[in-house]
Symmetry: C2
Subunit: 321 residues, 2 copies
């Protein structure tokens, strides 16, 4: 029998990268990761595992500095026009990642997605885009949407909760948020929500238009075995959070191969499943945030309330879009 997880345990499992303002974490950090940089840009864009940095072939496009622990992308012949520069960097990186994929250099690239994720600079300008499955190799910030759909019933609020398919590459069979998806380069959060709601939950656009934006959630996740691929990869994430109240009778149904079904669960049932560790870690975190925002988790009952709320909105140390 495993111990039931507290809400703080659930936060710790998802937001599990050390905080840079804690002195011991600074040491841990500087000893364990390379800083990912782009030549000519002052900002650190992500953190790279030493085993990843060491596996990359020596080439003029990549500079590894073991003294400063910097790992710098230096694409040759970058055009001076900003838009052309973005396209050039993106193309050089794509060729490089494609060859790493073919050489099977990194396990995480087995989950190749053919989707481009944005990487931003300190002025929020797009620097380049990167194949989605490679984002954790470089530890860049990724962006997504998460929506909790719920229905008010005679028994109180119930939440629409999908179970992930056993065939999913990551976190098979675990419980999930009603709708979740990643933001590709150029995609707006609400657009992404509308697309994913139809794909994953068969919810039509006219229903999803009633969804309410509620802010963002940010956390810094270090991947473990359940995520697949190399262990220890960095995944700082920013999720745009939405709520959607569905009238009784409107039922989400799997629209693709992501979920096997949607269950309509009471708050107590959802909280039990969270405590049993049955939710995908970041989905449990999203539900903690939903419960805080709806007065279901309250300061009077939750001893870790202040720490939990602050950590749901971690300030990431990289530039963001």
């Amino acid at each position: 029998m495993t111990q039931r997880k507290t809400n703080l345990d659930l936060v710790n499992e998802c937001d599990n990268f050390p905080y840079p303002d804690i002195p011991f974490a600074q040491g841990l950090l500087s000893g364990s990761y390379f800083k990912f940089k782009l030549e000519g840009c002052i900002a650190v864009l992500g953190y790279v595992l030493p085993e990843v940095a060491e596996k990359l072939p020596a080439s003029p496009e990549w500079e590894r500095n073991n003294a400063s622990l910097e790992f710098t992308f230096k694409p040759a012949n970058t055009p001076s026009d900003p838009e052309e520069a973005v396209a050039h960097r993106t193309a050089v990186l794509a060729r490089f990642l494609q060859s790493a994929r073919e050489a099977k250099t990194f396990r995480v690239l087995n989950g190749w997605r053919n989707e481009l994720y944005p990487v931003y600079g300190p002025g929020r300008e797009l620097l380049f885009s990167m194949e989605r499955s490679a984002s954790a190799l470089f530890g860049i910030v990724t962006y997504g949407v998460h929506m909790t759909a719920y229905t008010q019933t005679a028994e109180g609020m119930k939440l629409w909760t999908p179970r992930r398919a056993p065939t999913k590459q990551t976190y098979p069979n675990m419980m999930d948020n009603t709708v979740a998806g990643g933001l590709s380069t150029g995609e707006k959060p609400f657009e992404c929500l509308v697309r994913e709601s139809m794909e994953e939950a068969s919810l039509p656009e006219d229903v999803v238009r009633n969804a309410q934006a509620c802010g963002t959630m940010t956390y810094f996740y270090v991947r473990d075995k359940r995520a697949g691929g190399e262990v220890g990869l960095c995944q700082p994430e920013c999720q745009y959070v939405y709520n959607l109240e569905l009238p009784e009778g409107v039922v989400p149904r799997p629209g693709d191969n992501e979920a096997v079904d949607f269950q309509l669960l009471t708050v107590k049932e959802v909280q039990s499943a969270m405590a049993e560790g049955r939710f995908k870690p970041n989905c449990a975190l999203l539900l903690v945030e939903f419960f805080v925002r709806h007065g279901i988790i309250r300061a009077e009952d939750e001893p870790d309330y202040l720490e939990i709320v602050s950590r749901l909105h971690r300030r990431l140390e990289f530039p963001m879009g």
Copy 2:
């Protein structure tokens, strides 16, 4: 004519202490403030302005180390029993502050409140309590409640917005949140909300019981002239956030001398007053948070969305309760 403030301007005015993970801020910080500590406790409890640390009389109870920039409270003869130790430290500090008040050493003590605020250690244990008006001298975290009451009308949501009395010591005549107050040692947030709702807005307990807890807001404020007292004092704050929907016809009315009246304003009217700088800085921040949570400020329209949301929930670098 002054420039209209953006939402990020409003955040910057309230959360205006540098972030410790930004290298230049580290330099600024270590050059400008003493770390407030308690003998025997490893944690930094707050930041003290050098002009404050220098004004304190040389005494065995206070140790100022100009090399390490530490300013340490060392009450003699502290009992070993934890509860007695708390009472002893609180009493020694109270005597000290009372004499500083009589000597008029610090202007901020002219606003003496006769309320005790808690100071916590790294295990969330109460270390001692401190007269409210002295909290900014030591830069300790203070706790409060803020509630936005609103009414759904034919013209949409309207917010109940008080104007602070011209006689208030701090931020006279500025606009405020419906109900706000500070948490004394031992007081629970919801208790405090019920008490303040009656005192400030004449809202009875049976109405306030419908208020919904929505999380917390944290920010690190450096006091300017409008706050009264010494300029540059540190005020890291944690506010427990509540919403209350009032039915049409239930009207908040000034119950003490805090507010002159309550206006029922549309979202647009509130946003205009915010942009004109008419709200007390932390109340503007609370409204930004309310608008984010209600989908009124959205990523699609607000270029600073990600920074704003993250900064509404700043992780403070001190132990909290």
